[in-house]
């Protein structure tokens, strides 16, 4: 297999297989969660579930003071990583083209120098997150294989993308193929790991808010 053949596979069948596993996995898991249902609450409702639930989905984005004090490194590093990752993913011209091909519309891209800076930022933040995880005694105790695996497979697309953009080591078709394959790997493990938080995060926040809303207390 030549490098161009690998690239063609990664752009075609490879991406298709990864998409099927990703979409099917995520949808099945979400349906499963939703259909679990909740026990009927026999207490009288003292407020609205819906408004409190929706509000909490947004308000929980900002950590409260006590939480921030307790785990400031985790929170700061988490924010820097996520912002860097989203900017890199959503505003790099070739990525926008990919998305446009998928959903039919796109948006203006940011200059590559800006993207470059954000990519570096997210890579550094992700490294810091690992260091924090391994140096903090409690976190290290809680760390299992899945945490390391998801960290590694999240790092790969960022790193391979950065290297592909700067063309270090291999020729461009190989670098692009490696980047695509790393993304496909991430898509494949996505539904079966804690990466599912991308979707369940909002379900969980809504649920927390809704419970408080029903009881008529602040969320």
């Amino acid at each position: 297999m030549t490098e161009i053949e690998v690239l063609s596979w990664a752009r075609g069948p490879g991406l298709q297989i990864a998409t099927v596993i990703f979409v099917a996995g995520v949808v099945i898991r979400i349906f499963e969660i939703l259909l679990l249902g909740r026990k009927a609450n026999l207490a009288e409702a003292k407020g609205s579930e819906m408004s409190s639930g929706l509000k909490t989905m947004i308000t929980r984005t900002i950590p409260d003071a006590t939480t921030f004090k307790r785990s400031s490194v985790t929170i700061v590093v988490g924010y820097v990583f996520h912002i860097g990752m989203f900017v890199t993913f959503l505003f790099f011209a070739p990525h926008i083209l990919f998305i446009r091909d998928l959903i039919g519309f796109g948006w203006p891209a940011l200059p590559t120098t800006v993207i470059d800076a954000f990519a570096v930022l997210s890579i550094v933040a992700l490294l810091a997150a690992l260091v924090n995880r391994l140096t903090n005694k409690v976190m290290r105790f809680l760390t299992n294989f899945e945490d390391i695996l998801t960290w590694f497979l999240t790092m790969l697309p960022l790193l391979t993308g950065y290297i592909a953009f700067h063309r270090v080591g291999f020729t461009a078709p190989s670098l692009l193929a490696i980047h695509l394959l790393s993304v496909e790997l991430l898509l494949v493990i996505f539904p079966f790991t804690k990466l599912m938080h991308t979707f369940t995060l909002f379900l969980a926040r809504w649920y927390n808010g809704a419970i408080s809303g029903y009881r008529g207390v602040a969320s």
Binding site: E5, L35, A93, P94, F98, G104
Partner: protein, 381 residues
């Protein structure tokens, strides 16, 4: 034209360089008889040296070696091809030294260019192979069909047999064009003739790949000049291409690169971006994954190259460029219809999700039903 150049400056360059009248039958003599001045010859040597990233101190050695080089016998075999490569190499716009070097080789067999036909032509090939056994250069353009020998024959000899026979006595092989180097168009999916490249058949000879559809003329003369100067083949990359010419990607040397970095793209062939000469990435440019000298050497005597004319690079010097998912599909776009795949996957998964959810529920209900409440009385027993 070339003679005028030497007279303009008037300097007796031949004396200053201490190279006398070229010997008979050498490349130097052939060039001189064509009216190539010393100055333009040295200029060519300097260009060749710089293209191959050689130090300037090598220029006199290149000149000396080229002057004294015997005209090498070249046998040119054309298999499953379109003659575009020959067109590219022979139809130089004006008479350049590159083309004269090409003209100066002893092209003993080329069934498109030679005057002889039929048995006479084949006899010329056999004679050249015999006389120069072990020393001739073999140039091949076109792919070789393996599915059925009858798909492509010359004088009743299959391409495979002719290549094997001619390769035996060759000093080196130059595969010209993407068909000979990587299979090219005949090799494109579904490859009905079972077409393969030269290096898939010949394993025991040095092969220089000069891909492109067609390749740039100066690249082949550069390779010839290198061979004549050093008697060896130039440094090659991992897919057999001379690094001097295929060392950098089109994207990295493209004059439109700043627009890519700024995020300014032509969206269609006639929009404002296209008129302003913005980056053609969104229109399918394969420049980022293509290694060739177009952006620096350019075409038609340095006039321009495709991107300069407003068309994206199609990646013709890379293997399987016909199967790359379409010339106008951006490199970062998936080649398969992903949205359709996603919709089908989601629909199927939704059904499966509901089924699994309902199964979970019935399991919960069943356990609720068979659940027996334990009372204080039970515990007292």
């Amino acid at each position: 034209m070339t003679k005028d150049l030497s007279l303009k400056n008037g300097a007796p360059e031949e004396e200053t360089l201490e190279i006398g009248t070229p010997e008979k039958g050498t490349l130097g003599e052939a060039l001189r008889s064509q009216g190539v001045s010393r100055r333009s010859f040295m200029k060519f040597c300097a260009t060749t040296a710089s293209m191959m990233a050689l130090p300037p101190s090598m220029i006199p050695s290149i000149a000396r070696a080229l002057e004294k080089a015997r005209r090498p016998s070249v046998i040119w075999l054309s298999f499953q091809e379109c003659t575009g490569c020959t067109e590219s190499l022979t139809r130089a716009h004006t008479s350049t030294i590159e083309s004269l070097i090409f003209d100066s080789i002893s092209l003993d067999y080329h069934h498109t260019l030679q005057a002889a036909a039929g048995h006479g032509a084949e006899a010329a090939r056999e004679a050249a192979m015999e006389e120069n056994y072990g020393n001739y250069l073999l140039v091949v353009d076109g792919s070789i069909p393996l599915a059925n020998a009858g798909y492509s024959t010359i004088a009743g000899i299959s391409n495979l047999d002719m290549l094997n026979e001619a390769a035996k006595g060759a000093a080196a092989i130059i595969a010209v064009g993407t068909c000979a180097t990587y299979g090219g168009i005949p090799h494109a999916n579904p490859n009905p003739t079972g077409a393969v490249s030269v290096n898939e058949i010949i394993k025991d000879k040095p092969i220089i790949n000069v891909p492109g559809c067609p390749p740039i003329p100066v690249v082949i003369t550069g390779v010839l000049a290198h061979y004549l100067t050093f008697g060896s083949i130039p440094e090659l990359d991992h897919i057999g291409r001379p690094k001097a010419f295929y060392g950098q990607s089109i994207h990295d040397r493209c004059y439109r690169r700043p627009f890519y970095d700024k995020g300014q793209f032509a969206e269609t062939f006639d929009d404002e971006g296209a008129k302003k000469g913005w980056c053609l990435f969104k229109l399918g440019c394969k420049g980022p994954t293509t290694y060739n000298a177009c952006a620096t050497t350019k075409w038609n005597n340095g006039t321009s190259f495709p991107i300069e004319s407003g068309h994206p690079c199609i990646g013709c010097s890379e293997p399987d460029f016909w199967d790359g998912g379409g010339f106008y599909k951006a490199l970062s776009m998936p080649t398969a219809d992903l949205s359709q795949t996603a919709v089908y996957a989601a629909a199927g998964a939704a059904a499966a999700g509901v089924a699994i959810g309902l199964m979970n529920r019935s399991k919960k209900n069943t356990s609720n039903k068979i659940h027996v409440t334990t009372t204080i009385e039970d515990l007292k027993k």
